[in-house]
Symmetry: C2
Subunit: 227 residues, 2 copies
DNA sequence: ACTGAATGTTGACGTTGCCAACTTCCGTAG
DNA sequence: CTACGGAAGTTGGCAACGTCAACATTCAGT
């Protein structure tokens, strides 16, 4: 009398963790909202409302994993865009466009990644996220170091600070623009590609001639936020 | 038998709406987290858990009001910083610094304002917010139009597009940088002022010589987001 | 074959956002 | 002056949520 149906629902899901993260990504994309419940994810995966706790200590931890997956997608996207080109300058542009597309194409995910959900109480981002975010930034840094600024500013120890400045400037610009687009504070965003092109173009030209030197003690990378 | 205490708790609070928004701002600043409950606010105001519903239809509406208050504070801050200077260029720098300070000094509020909490289902920001955000942007636009780009690009119909580009670039840069600082993805942020100075400096110099022309059809201002 | 660790389930608790019905108070029309 | 209608606040209830504790099932290694 056990098993009226044959091999339905084998008690152990097999790969719940992945299934849950996948469902979360799906939900984010579909609903464009980040207010989904842990229980809903469990339902979608066809398990009980408490099963996820065997894989995530917290809802927070779940969100961190989802965010991490988002960063992973982002780096993959940027890397593949970049791989099709050889000129560093063009690579840079392609990457930045990909960055924006990723954000605009999946606003809820982007908001989760950068919206500061995590790091509320102890204001520290989960390690998973930081690692993935670092990779994304590394791509940017690589291309810029490789000469996206033109040969006026070659990559040398002497230019370290200036290059760091350029990286930060690019990242900030693109990050901010993406958020503004996603928020609908600026538009229309059909032409986001062309938009960022012209902005970055102008900025890079400026940076190449008169690059900002970051104040000493500033570095581009993660650390304890606030204060 | 009514009124054992004298005139304690006069049943009608007097100015609940304001009190609630104030409490919310306080909570945001204190806890640096945006996960507070409507009921908690009611408790703080010394009213029942349902009183707020006489002033806000929704929690969303409450949050929108708080966000609006945040924009109001922001414009006030920027305006007062600006008023103490006369050179447009210096005004611009002061404003941008103020913008960043506002965000870094109150991360939870900033995240609420720009984190895309609102606009989930129908993806439209509450009107109150949009209006306030427009004012903030207006200040920026004013200063830039007034000549912050130097006399190479005076304010004339011919330069309309270029000026719009500069506004967008500045806003994006500062917005993105603020978020990165708040998120702790970049640091340390003690020197945020100097940081933005050098970045904007470089960018403006670049923009002044070779200003991006925005693709036709792009405008800087709110509209329906996504897609 | 036995056992311990993974993994999933059931049931419960406190809290939350919101709804409905009731009460208290104030301004104002008659 | 009084009656009354609506604004503002209260009480109680509901379903859903995040989380905890206890229990069930399965798998892996001896």
């Amino acid at each position: 009398m056990p098993r009226p149906q044959s091999h339905e629902r084998p008690y152990h899901h097999g790969d719940l963790r992945r299934a849950i993260v996948a469902s979360a990504l799906e939900l984010l994309r579909e609903t464009r909202s980040l207010e989904f419940s842990l229980r809903e994810l469990a339902r979608r995966a066809g398990v009980s409302h408490n099963a996820p706790y065997k894989h995530f200590a917290d809802k927070r931890e779940l969100l961190a994993a989802v965010s991490g997956a988002g960063f992973e997608m982002l780096t993959k996207l940027m890397a593949s865009e970049m791989a099709r080109l050889s000129d560093p300058r063009e690579q840079l542009f392609a990457m930045l466009r990909a960055y924006i597309d990723h954000g605009v194409g999946n606003p809820a995910l982007y908001t989760l990644m950068f919206g500061g959900y995590l790091g509320s109480p102890d204001h520290s981002r989960p390690a998973i996220e930081l690692a993935e975010a670092e990779k994304a930034k590394g791509l940017l840094a690589g291309v810029i170091s490789a000469g996206a600024l033109g040969r006026a500013i070659p990559h040398s120890p002497r230019n370290e600070q200036k290059i760091a400045g350029a990286i930060l400037a690019c990242w900030s610009l693109v990050h901010g623009l993406t958020l503004l687009l996603v928020d609908g504070l600026v538009g229309p965003n059909k032409k986001a590609g062309a938009l960022v092109d012209s902005l970055v173009q102008g900025m890079l030209d400026g940076l190449s001639t008169k690059l900002p030197t970051l104040p000493p003690g500033t570095w581009v990378g993660p650390q304890a936020p606030y204060r």
